[in-house]
Structure formats: C-alpha cells, structure tokens
C-alpha cells in the first residue's frame, strides 16, 4: 500500500537546479533505500517531504500523502502533519539534539503539543520509548543531556523522538554515517526492527551501498538531482539497469569486503 508518493519533484534554490523530477513511492512496512553520492540531492528530497527546505526554494511536482498534496498545504497544516505522521531522523545526532534541553524535554514537548498528553502521561510514554530504543536506565536518561550519551545512544534517542507520536512515514537521512563503525549496525538493526513492528514507510537515505543492501527492500539511486535507477534490492545489486549504478557497485571496497546483507550486519554486531 502506497503511503507517500513523490512525483516529478523539482527544486530550484536561487539559480541552482537541485532536483530535476524525482519519482519515489514509499510503501507501508517497507524500506525504500536512496543512494547516491554526496550532493546528489538526497537530503533535499527528504527535506522537501518535511516542508523544511531552505529559504528561496522553488518546488514543483507533487508529494501525495493521505490524498493531499503536501506541497500545497499551508505551513500550519504541514506543521500538524510534521512529527505526528511524517517524522525525520537526521544525519548527525551530536548536532541534531539540543545541547541545553534535557532528553526528557525534547522527547515530551511534541508529545504534549500534538497528542495533548499531560506531564505524567508524556513522561510515561517517553520512558517506554527510551526502553524500546534500548537506552539503559530510561527514567534517569530523561533528566540527562545529549552530551552525556555516546554517539550511538544519541542517535537512538533521536529515533525515539522521531517515533514518539507514532508516525506512518519516517525519513532517515544517513542515520549511521556520523556514527562509529562499531555501533552503525546496531542502530540500523534497531531502525529496521521498529519500522517492521510499526508498519512504517521508511525512506532510508545513505551514500553507503553496503548499508543499503543490508536493510532496504527497494533501492533507488540518485545522481545530479535525478533518480537514475529504482528497483528491487536483489535486482539492483545483481543486475543494475543503469551504468552509473554498476560503476557505484564496482567501487565498493572489495566486492566482498563491504556490508552486503543483513547477515553481515548481524556478524558485525556480534564482533
């Protein structure tokens, strides 16, 4: 079932053509991978869905969600969807969490705003969320601040914040790129499990094809603001339709060296 459909998305910032007609379907319970080198427009695609594009942006095309075109919504209507139905996890958890607000405050303020929970209910929900992302001592963690956690823990907290209001669509923008190699697999694994449990439609952005092959159901490849390839994971990895994908695959660190499957992820996690 299609949860969110991006059709012919174009983006111009000032004079620069950033996106030139991006098409992507996100399906409930499935992970749509989005690969491509730095600067190809992956982050901007995610931000366009969130309605968080930089100033002076001109967008075209449609992003359909629940029968409505997100690009045509008022800022207010968009604000009501953001965080509650469409959520985002950003690349670097050391900068995406507020350094001077406690984890508890950051986990509960949108719960209280969107779901109108009272203080106690929001707190209980926050503890439950931290448990689900496997933060030790969740009740104590609420009083602590971002700098008191490790990188992997911070990203888990960011995931908990994103999933707090039970969204249906999750955009994960390179959620493991800024993390230690040793914790990448754990965070990826967690995201995959939660997405499965909650029936989330996930857009998983990464420029790491190894990561991609480990978790994505479908894989799209972007280049210069265009999707050049989109298909089933096995099809894309075994028989890429576009020469650019083939060259990307060939550049993987040793055809067998990278993380290629979920089994590899598990192996990494255990090592």
């Amino acid at each position: 079932m299609t949860a969110l459909e991006i059709k012919g998305l174009t983006l111009r910032i000032g004079d620069a053509e950033i996106l030139r007609g991006v098409d992507l379907d996100l399906e409930a319970g499935r992970i749509q991978g989005l690969a491509g080198e730095s600067g190809s427009g992956k982050t901007m695609t995610g931000l366009a869905v969130m309605g968080l594009l930089p100033a002076r942006s001109h967008v075209g095309g449609t992003i359909t969600y629940g029968g409505r075109d997100l690009l045509a919504l008022t800022p207010r209507q968009l604000g009501d969807l953001r965080g509650t139905e469409i959520a985002m996890v950003f690349q670097d958890p050391s900068t995406s969490l507020h350094p001077m607000l406690s984890v508890g405050a950051q986990l509960t303020d949108h719960l209280r705003h969107h779901l109108r929970l009272d203080r106690a209910a929001a707190r209980a929900r926050a503890v439950e969320l931290l448990e689900r992302v496997r933060i030790p001592d969740p009740a104590g963690a609420l009083r602590r601040f971002a700098h008191q956690f490790s990188g992997g823990q911070r990203q888990r907290i960011a995931i908990a914040i994103a999933l707090a209001c039970s969204p249906t669509v999750l955009i994960a923008d390179e959620p493991t790129t800024a993390l230690d190699v040793t914790v990448q697999a754990g965070v990826l694994h967690l995201l995959r499990d939660l997405a499965g449990e909650m029936g989330l439609a996930v857009l998983m952005v990464t420029h790491d094809l190894g990561v991609m092959s480990a978790v994505a159901d479908r894989v799209a490849v972007m280049r210069d603001g265009e999707v050049v390839e989109n298909g089933d994971r096995h099809q894309v990895f075994t028989a890429p339709a576009h020469p650019y994908t083939a060259s990307l695959l060939a550049s993987l660190p040793g055809a067998t060296g990278g993380v290629r499957s979920l089994d590899d992820v598990r192996a990494l996690e255990e090592s």
Partner: protein, 345 residues
C-alpha cells in the same frame, strides 16, 4: 586531608572568591599608583591655590591625611584599614568614604537597575524580531535604531532630553531624585521608590518615579542598541543550527521553537553582553548624573577624580571593581544554569 568544602559548586565559589580578592587588591594598587605617579597635586586641588601657598596649612593637611609618609607606607596603611572596613576619609566631603558610598550607591542602583532591566527586555526583544524578520522592513528599521543607540553621545542625549521634556514641555520634573519640597522616605534600602512604597507614601513614590524616568531612559538607549545588535547576530547563528531544524521537524509551532529552542541557546552569548552592558551603564552614569544632578556614584566619582580626592577615588575604584566581579560571577553561574555542558562537575 579532607577538603574543607565538599560540594563542587561551593569549592568553585571559594576558588572564585580567592581570585576575586586578589583582583580587588590589584585594583586598589592600580588606582593608588595611577593617582600618585602623575603630577597632579591633591593639596592644591582641595585647598585652593591661596591656602596651598601657606606651607603650614599644607603640612597640616598632609599630616592629617597621612600624605607626609612614604608611598608604600601609605598604601600598606590603606590596605590595613581596608581589612577593618575603613575606607578612609574623603578629603573633600570630610566624611568617611564608606558613608559617602552608602548614600551614593542606592541612588545609582535605582537608575542602573531600571535601565538594565528595560534594556534587556527591549534590546533582546528587538534583536529577536530583527533576526526573525531578517532582511525585511522591521530588520532595517531596528538596524537604524540600534545604530543610533550605540552612536549617540549620552551626555548630549541627557541634555537634549532634559531641555525638551523638563524645560520646554514640562513633562518631566527637573534634576535630583525628588522635588525640593518632598522629604525622602524613611531609610530602609536607600532606593527611594522602594522605601516610599514600604512606608506607604504614594506621593513620594510618584515623585521619585517621575524623577527616575528621564535619566533611566537616557541611559537605556545605548545598551538597547548594544543588545539589539548582539541578540540579532546570536539568534541568526542559532537559527542555522541542526537542532532548530530538528525542533521544526517535530512539528512544534514557530513560537515554541523560537522561545524554547532558539532563545535558550542564544541566551548564553547574550548573557555575556548583558554583563558588559551593565558596565557600560555604570560608565554612562558618570555623564548622566552630572546633568540630572543625581547624587549617585557617578557624580561622586567625578567630584573625587577632579579634586584628586585619593581616598574617595580608591573607594569608588574598589566598589566598582567589586561590582564588576560580582556581575562576572553571576553571569558565569547563569551560564551553568542554562548550559549543562559548562556546569561544574
């Protein structure tokens, strides 16, 4: 050996106090050296030229104030008395410097506190508006306002305000803290507004407030300009941070993002400037008090300096140094309260 104090905060405070005490001694030394190394002659400055020509008068004067002894002895004597809470006697008012300061400080605090509170409210407010409306009309207008604010000579502004509002329009009372016919309220804090309220004297309160208005507003303009400019750039910097984007991604209303996420982070650098602004205010009082005949620290400092009244100058320097150190301490403690990363471990 067990440490004398156990809590980290207390230990930090004790260390800060130690450093502060050293700085204070340094301040007295600098004032002392500065006022003695230079060619000015306090005897002539205080006795007048005629009396200064009579050697006997001069000798008596010097003996009275201990000026006949060698400088290091004078300084050590001063420090010794200081420890006992004796700041010496003013060569000009012939009263203990401590007594003079006790009456001058509340007068100045009454304007300075009002001015700093107003400045922070207005300046931070303006700065936030300018940042949020960056590049729009409001931003340009506030840019002009703040530019004028930091460029206007305070003494001239005071004079013009006095001329227009008191002299021409009669909207504000004249100089001083109260109308000549009003008797000061019973002394509790020395702040006339507060004391008159405590005593329930409404008319006195109204009069004191009316007299406060102009000097406070005049002092406020410069610090408003300073804070507007600084708040604007601090907020603009925070607006670009990732965590602000995260807050928006959570669907929080713009107002919540601004006050809860942006301002909290911008407050840290802004606080530093508020501390600086308070220093600027104290400097400004010297000029403003002169014009409004306000019997505060600024007037006292000016009288003391222009008559080379050494004990009084030392007293003012000491006091202002203490105020400066207290402000720095408060600012640093507030940092800790706002930013958990700098909290003492």
């Amino acid at each position: 050996m067990r440490p004398l104090v156990s809590s980290p905060l207390a230990r930090y405070l004790v260390r800060r106090l130690g450093v502060s005490a050293l700085l204070i001694v340094g301040v007295t030394l600098v004032t002392f050296v500065l006022t003695n190394l230079v060619p000015g002659d306090p005897v002539a400055a205080n006795l007048g030229q005629r009396a200064a020509e009579n050697p006997e008068t001069v000798a008596a004067y010097r003996a009275h104030y201990g000026l006949d002894r060698p400088l290091p002895v004078q300084y050590v004597t001063y420090l010794g008395n200081l420890v006992q809470g004796d700041l010496g006697e003013s060569q000009q008012t012939h009263r203990p410097v401590l007594t003079d300061l006790q009456s001058a400080v509340p007068a100045t605090l009454e304007i300075a506190i009002g001015a700093i509170v107003l400045s922070v409210l207005i300046g931070v407010g303006f700065g936030v508006v300018a940042a949020v409306r960056r590049g729009q009309l409001a931003d340009s207008a506030l840019r002009v306002v703040s530019l004028v604010g930091i460029s206007v000579p305070t003494f001239w502004l005071a004079l013009v305000a006095f001329y227009v509002f008191s002299f021409q329009l009669d909207l504000a009372p004249g100089s001083g803290r109260l109308a000549p016919a009003t008797t000061p309220p019973p002394h509790v804090t020395g702040l006339y507004t507060l004391d008159s309220l405590l005593a329930g004297e409404w008319e006195t309160f109204g009069d004191a407030l009316a007299h406060l208005m102009l000097p406070t507003l005049v002092l406020t303009l410069y610090t408003v300009g300073l804070l507007t400019r600084f708040t604007r750039s601090a907020v603009l910097e925070v607006l670009e941070q990732d965590y602000v984007r995260s807050a928006r991604a959570k669907g929080l209303p713009g107002r919540t993002v601004l006050f809860r996420y942006v301002l909290r982070a911008a407050m840290v650098p802004i606080l530093t400037v508020v501390g600086l602004a308070f220093g600027a205010l104290l400097s400004g009082t010297v000029l403003v008090e002169e014009i409004f005949a306000w019997p505060g620290l600024g007037s006292y400092a000016y009288q003391a300096a222009s008559h080379l009244d050494l004990p009084a100058v030392m007293g003012v320097g000491l006091l202002v140094g203490v105020i400066y150190l207290v402000i720095n301490l408060v600012v640093d403690l507030l940092y800790g309260a706002i930013d958990p990363r700098v909290r003492v471990q």
